[in-house]
Assembly symmetry: C2
Homo-oligomer: 251 residues x 2
């Protein structure tokens, strides 16, 4: 935990907060905080800052917080064909740590229908995992999550509202296009700097031909991912890293 | 499983093989192979090719194999400060899938000594996980693994023999250098094309100042990894993806 994240309702008007549970145990047992010591603190979807430890016992820590600027929402959104529940569970924290503004989980021909019944898609399961990832990466901006059972409806009717503007990329093994070329090629709007990029990542078996045409017809450009076939979670981490680096390099 | 990998001793001189266990179950239950059908096959550290199913029952599959060229060993080696056993267990298959020629696991000041006692470092545990990663990525080249309890001895006395030539990079949060710049900057030897690159990834708490100097004194150049702090396994996947992409782009 590189950042202590607070829920908005936890912070008292005078800037003090009392945390308990896992966060308190981490502060006391791992960081071994003492009164007067400073720790990095942030408010979920709010500012980053510093908290000074006022007092602690075994189960609670009282802190005085000073919060600063709110971090910019990550410039990358992810459209992901829902992977197996076990893989999805592993991904939540990693996605939040790598930095995504929005996670759109979608059905596809090669996604098993029963994946949508898993508790891993319950907000009570994934929100703490997202928070864990933010605390790792020292960010406060909780990714927005939406779940879509019909890809065609999502792409044709909803996507322009959910992800307006920006580049749309589709990671595909057959493409030779590099991320840096794909990001640089996209005309940047003045109000859209750094650019937003929506990245589509398909299911283990790949998108169907119909789905590739549907995505292509709605502005998704193919981008290469190398010759090696990766597991969904490895692929997501690798592709998000490449995309962030391409944006950083082109900026 | 995108590739059926065989041990050298499994293949009969006439090119036939009988597989059982998990691989046979995967062929029968998941791929639902029938006699006459072809599947991708490879020999560990040997050629890639095609196998035709001769016959099968519930527990075994007999195949006739034709093997071709041996894939080139991945041009990237990884020097990794040993992470927690749980994280290391998750990493083995992902490292093999992403492609590494050699994995050097090392001690460091901020690595807990007892991490070296874990069964996750036993060859009987990690070899099947590496094979799983190769089968995912359709590669046959098993990464070479070595375990080093003294970083100083490794760097000063052993590294030039284990990893001769090539670039040496050290992923560091403070560096602004991009992977593409770091890979391109390194003079390429004619006999060394594509170039070999050795990437050092530190422990969760980072390398100590002494370790940074030691690595710097032995040719490691700093390369940036973005502002976000990532968990060891996420960082390894992200950094290896960036390095492979930089080599692909500069080639």
């Amino acid at each position: 935990m590189n950042l202590l994240l607070l829920e908005p309702e936890e912070l008292h008007p005078d800037g003090t907060v009392v945390v308990s549970g896992a966060r308190a145990r981490h502060l006391v047992d791992v960081l071994r905080v003492q009164p007067g010591q400073s720790v990095r603190v942030g408010m979920l979807d709010g500012g980053l800052g510093t908290a000074t430890v006022l007092s602690h016992d075994d189960n609670t820590v009282a802190l005085q917080c000073v919060l600063g600027a709110v971090p910019v929402r990550p410039g990358v959104d992810l459209l992901l064909a829902l992977p197996r529940p076990k893989v999805m569970r592993r991904l939540w924290a990693q996605l939040a740590a790598l930095g995504v503004g929005r996670i759109l989980l979608t059905n596809a021909e090669r996604v098993e229908r029963n994946y949508f019944d898993t508790h891993v898609l319950g907000v009570d399961v994934y929100r703490p995992l997202l928070v864990e990832g933010l605390q790792q990466a020292r960010d406060t901006r909780l990714p927005l999550v939406s779940i879509h059972r019909r890809l065609k409806v999502l792409i044709e009717d909803e996507l322009d509202t959910l992800c307006p503007g920006g580049a749309r990329l589709l990671a595909h093994p057959d493409s030779e296009a590099t991320f840096i070329a794909a990001v640089t090629a996209h005309p940047r709007h003045p109000a859209d700097s750094p650019p937003r990029v929506l990245l589509a990542v398909g299911p283990e078996g790949g998108w169907s031909d119909f789905e590739l045409r549907l995505l292509g017809d709605h502005g998704f450009q193919l981008v290469g991912m190398g010759a090696r076939t990766l597991r969904s979670d490895t692929a997501c981490v690798a592709l998000l890293a490449l995309l962030h680096e391409a944006i950083r390099t082109s900026g």
